[in-house]
């Protein structure tokens, strides 16, 4: 079986390499842009996803986890009394100001609980034990704070909103969309940092359902007992926290624009090279028709070339993007390429490359086989 589509591509290796590189570049652009976007967005909900809570009670209309509002910490008692609730605890997420040894003041996002271990926070500990946080004026800082806070070590002290706390541990992967470092401390210590705002107040109630409890029934009952709060499932809350940043900022649009431009680059490169190639081989295509081929035989060649360019370009782009992952990580950027994204980009690449070949299809449609007699 002679595969003329492949043979033509391989006959002009330079052009073929340019086509594949063009598609690969566009695929890399899309992967990096969407992957960074996904990575950035994951920061907006990473703590929600790692917390072992089935339901989150928030102040009414709280837009995302970082922009919390406080309510009476006594409300947790009402939640605990709802049938189907196994456990409910107050959580504080609040911004504090850290005074650094350099004199600089930086913001930090504080996560405060009475019992961190029960809720799975922090989920990635490098050094120290979260159970020690309840013993006093202690804090665990995420490694990502180094960039802003400079070096720190267990045993160092830092001033949080005017109170001197000892660093007793280091965590990893705890991030905020606002890029402010995340700190974990005891619930009462956090309240003492900003007493006028947080005295006897919490910002969230974490709810663990009893085995076999009906989530929607429990949720409805909590909502009935706390009419001035919102109750959300973990997934809903994570989605809301992410959507806030995509919908209320230009970030989503910016990402879409770059993806669009990436696709455009890919389509233009493929369309242009396939079209030029089709024009250069127009007499060969006329010969195919003269010796008994049909338009469909010519379309099959062009279509196959587009698919080959798409598949190889996708592979190249995928490899380049995977190679960029550690580079991104080294500069504190998270690049997430999920199987779903990879599949979507693959299908999109094949569709767009095939669409790009349509320009060539139009040119060879109804090609006159008598062209073979013209010099």
């Amino acid at each position: 079986m002679v595969d003329l589509a492949w043979k033509i591509l391989l006959h002009d290796k330079t052009r073929f390499a340019i086509t594949v590189a063009g598609v690969g570049f566009a695929v890399t652009l899309v992967f990096v842009q969407v992957g960074l976007f996904e990575g950035l967005l994951s920061n907006a909900s990473v703590t929600i996803e790692h917390t072992r809570a089935d339901l989150w009670v928030t102040a009414r209309n709280t837009p995302n986890i970082d922009f919390s509002n406080s309510f009476s910490e006594m409300l947790v008692q009402r939640v605990r009394s709802v049938p189907g609730v196994e456990r409910a605890d107050n959580l504080i997420v609040w911004f504090a100001i850290v005074a650094l040894p350099t004199g600089v003041k930086e913001n930090v996002v504080v996560y405060a609980l009475e019992d961190f271990a029960r809720w799975g926070l922090p989920w990635s500990v490098i050094e120290g034990d979260p159970r020690d946080l309840r013993r006093g004026k202690f804090v665990m800082l995420d490694e990502s704070a180094r960039k802003r806070f400079g070096d720190f070590a267990v045993g160092d002290f830092r001033e949080f909103s005017g109170r001197r706390l000892e660093i007793i541990g280091r965590t990893r992967e705890a991030r905020s969309f606002t890029t402010n470092p995340v700190a974990f401390m005891d619930y009462r210590v956090a309240q003492s940092l900003v007493p006028n705002e947080l005295h006897n107040r919490a910002t969230y109630i974490l709810v663990k359902l009893a085995p076999g409890a009906d989530p929607s029934a429990v949720r409805a009952e909590i909502g009935r007992r706390l009419p001035f709060n919102d109750v959300r499932s973990r997934d809903e809350w994570a989605t809301r926290s992410r959507s806030y940043w995509t919908d209320s900022t230009g970030l989503g649009l910016n990402m879409m624009m770059t993806v669009f431009l990436g696709c455009l680059v890919g389509v233009v490169v493929v369309a242009q090279t396939l079209y030029t190639s089709a024009m250069e081989h127009i007499k060969e295509f006329a010969t195919i028709k003269a010796i008994g081929g049909r338009d469909a035989d010519v379309y099959r060649i062009l279509g196959k070339q587009a698919v080959i360019a798409a598949v190889l370009g996708f592979g190249l782009g995928m490899v380049a993007s995977l190679a960029l992952m550690p580079v991104m990580r080294s500069i504190d950027l998270v690049l997430i390429i999920s199987p779903k994204l990879a599949f979507g980009v693959f299908v999109g690449t094949v569709i767009l490359c095939t669409a790009a070949a349509l320009v060539s299809f139009r040119k060879v449609a109804g090609l006159d086989p008598a062209l073979v007699f013209r010099s």
Binding site: V2, K283, T287, A290, G292, D368, V372, F373, S375
Partner: protein, 242 residues
């Protein structure tokens, strides 16, 4: 025309007009031509006489303004976009002045690909490709790309490609025009031998007077009409080459 002389192609009263804007040019004016198995015909005429237009109509590539065409006794619906490629595929092999080989395919692959288009694949295609390349004396160079072949060798590949699939009609457009006289003569000898041996009807459109030496009949076309038509066996060598 003998046992091997049954008509495989008959074109009758073929007219072709081309219209551009308000100008109509009549290229063919009632040309008629027939080709028989095992017989070689030369179609000669000056530039602009309608040779190539008639060839493209006979080759089912162009629809005439009027006239009829029968191939292997079957009337060709010259207005059907579906029927014409089918006749080309089944009944006609082409040899072009500029060879028109696929540059990315070896000699062998050029033949195999033509067979694929005609619906012959696998072992049958390989056997047929070997047979025709052997017939044109190119078995030793079947793995060569066209760029590595001489003009004469390229034309041999083109002939092999036309022969492959056993189409009863071979149409050759100026097959020696791009070859030097020695190689051209070899190609003509090859044409003659193969057409006879394989019992094909061969039409050679040419300016080359040497072609007359190998053909059975000569059709002269002038201003879109077949102005003269004679069998070379009825002429002396001097008359033929005049």
């Amino acid at each position: 025309m003998g046992a091997s002389g049954s008509m495989v192609l008959e074109a009758r009263d073929v007219w072709k007009e081309f219209t551009e804007g308000s100008t109509t040019v009549t290229v063919l004016r009632g040309a008629s031509l027939s080709l028989a198995r095992g017989e070689i015909t030369a179609l000669e005429g000056p530039s602009g006489s309608g040779k190539t237009t008639l060839l493209t109509i006979l080759g089912c590539m162009l629809t005439p303004s009027s006239g009829t065409l029968e191939i292997e006794g079957i009337p060709v619906d010259l207005r059907s976009r579906r029927a014409l490629p089918e006749f080309r595929k089944r009944s006609i092999g082409f040899v072009f002045q500029q060879f028109n080989l696929f540059p990315s395919l070896t000699a062998y692959e050029n033949v195999i690909y033509a067979l694929q288009l005609k619906g012959t694949r696998g072992e049958a295609a390989r056997r047929e490709a070997d047979r025709v390349l052997d017939a044109v004396g190119l078995s030793e160079r079947k793995t060569f790309l066209p760029r590595d072949l001489s003009g004469g060798q390229k034309q041999r590949v083109a002939i092999a490609r036309a022969l492959a699939g056993r189409s009863p009609i071979l149409l050759a457009d100026e097959p020696t025009a791009n070859l030097d006289s020695k190689v051209g003569a070899q190609i003509l000898d090859l044409f003659r031998d193969l057409a006879r041996r394989e019992n094909r009807a061969l039409l050679i459109v040419t300016h080359d007077p040497k072609v007359r030496a190998i053909v059975d009949r000569v059709a002269l076309i002038h201003d879109g009409m077949i102005s003269d038509h004679f069998e070379t066996s009825t002429k002396t060598n001097e008359e033929i080459l005049l």
